[in-house]
């Protein structure tokens, strides 16, 4: 069966968009084919900086013919119905329809609609231009003289040529003829921009790949990545070094070259005074180069790996030396900043230590944190207060927490952070160490930003925890107070991440934090506490769900209490989950559901709260009713004691005692007795059962 080869050749596609574009191209074309009844054996897409390519194997040459029967109205139906049928079936007259009969309907018309399958090539010529015109690039553009038209083709960068061929392996394939905005499909492409710029003709995928290879283009991005990483490791190994692996950088670099050539460069030893993270940040972000470390000591080396796109006539000497110059210039900047930050700050020399001077500048410049939330200085003051307040709750030394909070934003005024914002916090720590701050304080300066997201490290140092919580709670409470909450996909102040940070700090350090009280104390009001707690609960659900917890169990637990103490919420969810996994749990849940259903139905008749009275044991005439009432009485007080003691597993074990009497009750007792007094009394018993169980969790929210 024939194969399709498609290549869209353009100016350089941004590296970060390439992988998605290759996936999109494959999906769009194969979906369109399948939708038209064309199944294929396999499809694979590729991308380089200048081309998107798609190979579909084993496509039928023609769409299958379709035969369809369409039932029409009965014979002798009104003319309007007949005409409607003819029109919808595309028939000229009733002569073209068959008459069939069945015992129920009698005789009726049937139209046989036969559609001949189209040539696949013709279909492709039809659908490919649409796919190209509507391609989902994250950002696209217009260009050239055509850009005056509002319907001009948009592409990620100017599109230059299209290869589209279709045909079986053994024959000369045909070109799928179409045109998009003046670009006519054909079978001509070009090789590497510099090493093989000439045009050449391609027929099908096999010769396409090998012709590209000859023209110094490696089509497959995975192979380019492999080439880079292997050559880089080899070059490093030969020098007793190892590559600091970086998958994101590798993918990006593989998207910048059609023919990777890995080279090594170096910089002066003196630059190694700069913190390793800063060296890596600058070499990575600005130069897209890999750093190396000594394979024995693990220390950062003064060598680096660069990936070029050509086999240079001097074997890369000029390229490596050019890159070295740029790296040297960048590191000179970084070194200058690093040294400047260790000097007193002009105009602030009398303000104490180096970081205190930066803090003084931060305050003096009155830098706005947010227009409604005041300056960074005011924010620091709030964080200090909050860190002092939180310190005893998390077991931290309050004066250390206050000192760390005071300095936590000072590094924003350093030159290094001004240049490389991604090393904020880390630089605070480095400078704190240089000025002999307390070790806990120094750690807290780095860690108070953490965790940033679901996989970032969670601080364990108690001072760091206090400041990290203070920083995040101040942000959350602040934005909540001015009603700037996240909506939909919009979360410009990363409040979801801040809330997740609080959750992870609390849970992973097993902290007891009464959130309602903490929020009220932070906000100096009770107005937002409940709403913000609900937001924490939303984020907690997402967090627990990602960890595999059942969504319904979280709801069940949250409905049973204020949920103010996140650690206890999680403990309760865990206890509930294991209880519901047990036989007793499953059966008791079934009993609960039955009771709740009956109560719901009867409350509709008698009104809500009709069964809130205590169960009158004198009136209980069935032994199973008496037994249940007796067990329930004992269980209820025992459960509440255990819940109060936070012994959720114990509370569940007590609840398990209810299983047998509940089962027996439903088996032998009719709730809706004909005597209204007995009926109401039994419903009161069920109500008591329901509320006793609600003391642990709202079982009504448990699914299944």
């Amino acid at each position: 069966m024939p194969d399709l080869l498609l290549e869209l050749f353009s100016e350089e596609i941004p590296a970060r968009m390439q992988a998605q574009a290759a996936d999109d191209l494959k999906k769009l074309v194969t979906d369109a084919l399948v939708e038209r009844g064309l199944l294929y054996e396999g499809a694979v897409s590729f991308v380089t900086p200048r081309r998107l390519a798609l190979h579909i194997v084993g496509l039928p040459a023609r769409q299958p013919d379709v035969r369809e029967e369409k039932k029409g109205p009965r014979v002798g139906a009104p003319d309007a119905a007949i005409q409607g049928f003819l029109k919808s079936a595309g028939l000229a007259s009733l002569d073209q329809a068959k008459i069939e009969s069945d015992p129920k309907k009698g005789e009726f018309y049937v139209a046989i609609i036969e559609r001949e399958g189209k040539d696949t090539a013709a279909l492709l010529a039809d659908l490919l231009p649409n796919i190209i015109r509507n391609f989902p690039w994250p950002k696209s553009m217009r260009w050239g003289a055509a850009s005056v038209r509002s319907d001009a083709l948009r592409w990620v960068r100017p599109l230059h040529s299209i290869v589209a061929t279709f045909g079986p392996e053994t024959e000369e394939p045909e070109v799928i003829n179409f045109e998009v905005d003046g670009i006519v499909s054909g079978q001509t492409t070009r090789g590497h921009r510099f090493m093989a710029p000439a045009e050449f003709k391609v027929r099908r995928f096999d010769d396409y790949v090998s012709a590209l290879e000859k023209a110094k283009v490696v089509l497959d991005p995975a192979r380019r990545r492999d080439m880079i990483v292997h050559d880089a490791r080899d070059l490093a190994f030969a020098q007793g070094l190892e590559l600091v692996e970086d998958d994101a950088l590798l993918a990006e670099v593989a998207g910048l070259v059609e023919w990777p050539v890995v080279l090594m460069g170096s910089f002066d030893q003196e630059f190694l005074d700069i913190p390793a993270e800063v060296i890596r940040a600058t070499i990575r972000a600005n130069q897209k180069c890999f750093v190396l470390r000594d394979s024995v000591s693990g220390k950062l080396s003064n060598k680096f790996i660069l990936v070029s796109n050509i086999i240079a006539s001097d074997n890369g000497v000029a390229i490596a030396s050019g890159n070295q110059r740029v790296v040297r210039a960048r590191l000179s900047d970084a070194l200058y900043f690093w040294h400047t930050d260790q000097k007193p700050l002009p105009d602030y020399t009398d303000k104490g230590s180096l970081l205190d001077q930066r803090l003084a500048k931060l305050r003096a410049l009155n830098i706005v944190f947010h227009e409604k939330l005041g300056s960074q200085g005011a924010r620091v003051d709030r964080i200090i207060e909050l860190a002092k307040y939180l310190a005893p709750m998390v077991g931290a030394d309050a004066s250390k927490a206050a000192r760390a909070a005071e300095l936590c934003k000072a590094d924003l005024m350093t030159e290094v952070v001004g240049e490389f914002p991604e090393v904020q916090g880390l630089m605070g720590r480095r400078y704190a160490e240089l000025q002999n701050e307390d070790a806990d304080v120094a750690v807290a300066l780095e860690d108070h930003y953490k965790p940033q997201g679901p996989s970032d490290r969670v601080p364990t140092n108690k001072v760091a925890i206090a400041v990290a919580l203070a920083d995040k709670l101040d942000t959350l409470v602040g934005f909540w107070s001015i009603d700037e909450k996240p909506t939909g996909s919009k979360d410009p102040y990363a409040l979801r991440r801040a809330a997740l940070g609080v959750i992870r700090l609390v849970l992973e350090n097993e902290l007891r934090l009464p959130l309602l009280a903490v929020v009220a104390a932070t906000a100096k009001s009770n107005d937002i506490a409940a709403d913000l707690l609900a937001f924490f609960h939303d984020r907690l659900k997402v967090y627990l769900r990602d960890k595999g917890a059942r969504h319904d169990l979280i709801d069940a637990v949250l409905a049973a209490g204020s949920g103010d103490d996140l650690l206890m919420v999680v403990r309760r969810v865990e206890a509930l989950a294991s209880f519901l996994d047990s036989d007793d749990g499953k059966n008791l849940l079934a009993g609960y559901k039955r009771a709740a259903n009956i109560l719901r139905a009867e409350e509709k008749k008698d009104g809500a709260g009709a069964f809130n009275a205590a169960h009158d044991s004198a009136r209980a005439n069935a032994p199973e009713e008496q037994a249940l009432a007796a067990t329930l009485g004992a269980v209820e007080s025992s459960v509440s004691v255990r819940v109060a003691d936070e012994d959720f597993v114990g509370a569940m074990q007590v609840l398990a005692q209810l299983r047998a009497p509940v089962d027996a009750f439903f088996e032998h007792v009719t709730v809706n007795d004909s005597d209204p007094a007995i009926r109401i009394n039994r419903l009161c018993l069920l109500n008591k059962l329901r509320s006793a169980m609600h003391g642990v969790a709202d079982f009504g929210k448990v699914s299944g």
Partner: protein
């Protein structure tokens, strides 16, 4: 080439070569800063560009020149190239950093509409200044250009030569808040960086400016080092912020007043002077920013105010002769 000229061609070439050798060092793009500029000018003149001179105002980039900002608006074709001295007060380093300057030169090319072979033209211009693509690694690395103060954005690349950004390459999509129709291609060469590269110099101040050696040699440092030191003092320490704030507001008010005064309904007759005030406001803002007296949120507000001026100028430009397809048939009164 006309066939009639063939006979004498070889000889002419020889003569030319001989004369090039004599003056080579002062005009050679790899040996003198001025040679680099002249080579680029000649190259783009050959492509049909109008070779303009720098705009006579303080700007942060060549894009601010009305030959780019305003001419990229409207339907009329336009090709221009020029050097633009660019001032970035914050980048001052008192003449001590070998790579950073608060005043430097950009070479700017604007081609409207963008020609289909713009990348090739660009690469040929690199070849003209001595960058061999068989020896050097030239790369187009994504860089979405945006100028919040000009209300402009485009897609394109940073052009890298052996890991060094030597040019910006942009297809303008929007300028002054208006869709570009047609799209212009903009090339911006960082002249000092390119010159350092082709001259093989590590420190910008060591660049050979005039291509001479010995006593006749003039370096970039001879020309600009003192200026860098003086302006750094000015930009970071002495620029009077109260006056700058006042100048900003004055320029803003003047821009608006000129736009109002030149408005003749379907025609506008005073865009360029108004746009000058927009440029002024923008540079005052850059100076205030370098003095560190503009906070993060205020910063957004100042950018917004300059952008509003740029947008108003762009809107008015589209109502001038140069900004539209056909000249206005009924120009109104001259002056008031």
């Amino acid at each position: 080439m006309m066939p009639g000229l063939h006979g004498g061609h070889a000889q002419t070439l020889k003569k030319m070569k001989a004369s090039v050798t004599q003056v080579s060092s002062s005009l050679d793009p790899t040996r003198s800063f001025q040679g680099l500029i002249l080579t680029l000018q000649n190259f783009w003149a050959e492509q049909g560009c109008v070779i303009l001179q720098p705009y006579d105002m303080e700007v942060g980039a060549g894009t601010f020149h009305p030959a780019t900002t305003l001419r990229s608006l409207g339907p009329r074709p336009w090709k221009a190239a020029y050097v633009q001295p660019s001032r970035r007060p914050k980048d001052g380093r008192y003449g001590e950093n070998p790579n950073r300057l608060q005043h430097y030169y950009q070479f700017q090319v604007i081609l409207k509409p963008s020609p289909p072979d713009l990348q090739d033209l660009y690469l040929r211009s690199l070849k003209a200044i001595g960058i061999d693509s068989g020896l050097h690694d030239i790369r187009f690395v994504e860089d979405d250009w945006e100028s919040p103060t000009l209300g402009a954005w485009g897609l394109g690349w940073e052009c890298w030569c052996d890991g060094m950004e030597v040019s910006q390459f942009t297809y303008f999509q929007q300028v002054a808040g208006f869709e570009c129709s047609p799209v212009s291609g903009e090339l911006t060469y960082g002249l000092e960086r390119l010159a350092m590269y082709v001259q093989g110099v590590e420190n910008v101040y060591d660049l050979n400016f005039n291509g001479r050696e010995g006593a006749d040699k003039v370096t970039y440092g001879d020309v600009f080092k003192q200026a860098e030191q003086e302006y750094s003092r000015h930009n970071f320490e002495h620029a009077d912020t109260d006056i700058l704030f006042k100048h900003f507001s004055d320029a803003e008010a003047e821009c608006k007043a000129l736009l109002a005064a030149g408005d003749r309904g379907d025609h506008h007759e005073m865009v360029l002077p108004a746009y000058d005030q927009c440029i002024k406001a923008s540079h005052r803002f850059n100076l205030l920013d370098a003095r560190g007296v503009i906070s993060v949120t205020e910063r957004q507000n100042y950018i917004f105010r300059v952008r509003e001026l740029a947008k108003a100028c762009g809107e008015a430009w589209l109502r001038t002769d140069a900004g539209r397809d056909k000249p206005n048939q009924n120009p109104t009164t001259k002056g008031a």
